[in-house]
Amino acid sequence: MRCQCCNKEVAKIQIRDIDNWNITSVRVICEGCASFVLTKLLNPTEPLPSAEQAVAAGQAELAEIGAVDMDALKGVLDSMEQHDDESDDDDESSDVIPTLTCESCGTTFKEFQKVGRLGCPACYESFAEHMDQILEHIHGVVPTEHPGRGPGAVDTDSRASQRREIQRLSQQMQSAVSSEHYERAAQLRDQIREMEERLSSGRQPVAEGDGSSAAS
């Protein structure tokens, strides 16, 4: 999902308004914008704004330095409102759940609901029809493919050095935000985004066509 603040970067951080345990609105923003938004939230002289106000204020600042695509953003926000409405009816469905039992360990879905713990790894499969919704509720994302490490991943592949470069740039971006050099921060953010896109698509800047020449 695109960042709902700058509409450029891939959004990874949820920011939501909570009213008496109910989530009343959700915005998803990127890491770069997150520092702008948290800075808006933590303003010593102003009362705490809502998430929406903070995102809007962050956006206004970004707009001023030309780092946000306002028109495209409107559509994203509108579609988000509808999404919010849909996700409200989780609670009703839990009453009509037939008794599911994990064949592997004998834990029932009811028992899981009561103690909040699963009986064994197979429970994820056994309770699959509810699991995605539960995970989405907790983590704010629908599970698709695990983006993190797997067992034994030592992280010494060629991508490691690119990641280190991204790290270095993000540190620079943070200090740019800290010292209120927002323009520089926005530049760095775009650079980081570009590198991340390249990294996640698995596209390497060199070595195209090497495979075919080796074969011939």
Binding site: L38, L41, L48, R117, P121, P151, S170, S178
Partner: protein, 356 residues
Amino acid sequence: MRLRNELQLNDFLRPDGSWLRGVGPESDIVISSRIRLARNVSGLPFQLRMSDDQRRELVQQVSEAIPGHAIRVDLNDASPIDRSLLVERHLISKELANGDGPRSAFFGPHEVVSIMANEEDHLRIQCIHSGFDLRRLWRALVKLDVSLSRQMPFVFNQRLGYLTACPTNTGTAMRVSVMLHLPALTMKDHIDKVKRSVDMMNLTIRGLYGEGTRASGDFYQISNQATLGRSEEEIIRTIETLIPIVLRYERGMRKALLADERSLVDDRVERALATLRAARRLDVDEMMQHLSMVRFALLEGLIPAESMTIDELNRLFILCQPAHLQKQAGRSLSADERDELRAEMLRTRFSADSVN
């Protein structure tokens, strides 16, 4: 591997290595950083359905898989004081200390790495260090995780990542926590704002000893809430991005306090010192409160730097916790006795000629 069911306090007073050292990036505010991974071993049910035999076997398996030298404590055989001692040092969780059935803790001599077996998940692996250096922790933790995973296969799913007993940990099963000392924000009543802000950003802020504990002595832990749908790298980067903004907020507030409300600050500091010098009984909360003010005063140069190091002060915070006190006394003490001993220790250290 040394099996220790009788812990010696001397094991814990080494000056080097531990998270108490008060060194590392941002260590004026960031006391320590910690990363924890939850892991479950393939072929076994989760804790809810495990038999005691399976748990015992798992502990054995872990103790054989751990590389290098570690101290092992079987919690069932440990005294209540020793169990609390490990909690106070952040080596184990309250859940492990107060749980039942076979369960163990393993930790290295420098207390940087620790492993809990049979907590909520089969394994909880953590790395803790003073200051704000998540990269260093992460590197150490990956090494340990990889070496363990070669000895015992962990439950992993391509779509969901690591499977855990509670779905709140599914995915990376990683929790990054940063322990912060925020005296100025507490004094100026801005903690609620920080709490609500970080909550809005899907982070949690809790007290010194984790879940359900209240903040004590202006110490708070901020950690990530979501573990699914983002990589370890992204979780670390989010914390790295957001914590500096909280730090800047605290620093700004300190500056403002010293500039505009110097007499309020001086009053608080002098009262703290006076109490530490004179009190005959001090409970944990009051001790934390006063030492927190001393820490603040030391860092802001309100007390001469030569009178005490941050390292020593961090150590005092821990040595005055209930289990540490009883360990020093060599016996169990009533609450009143602890308060008296605590006051005595602090009175000796803060007597007028040593800190002024």
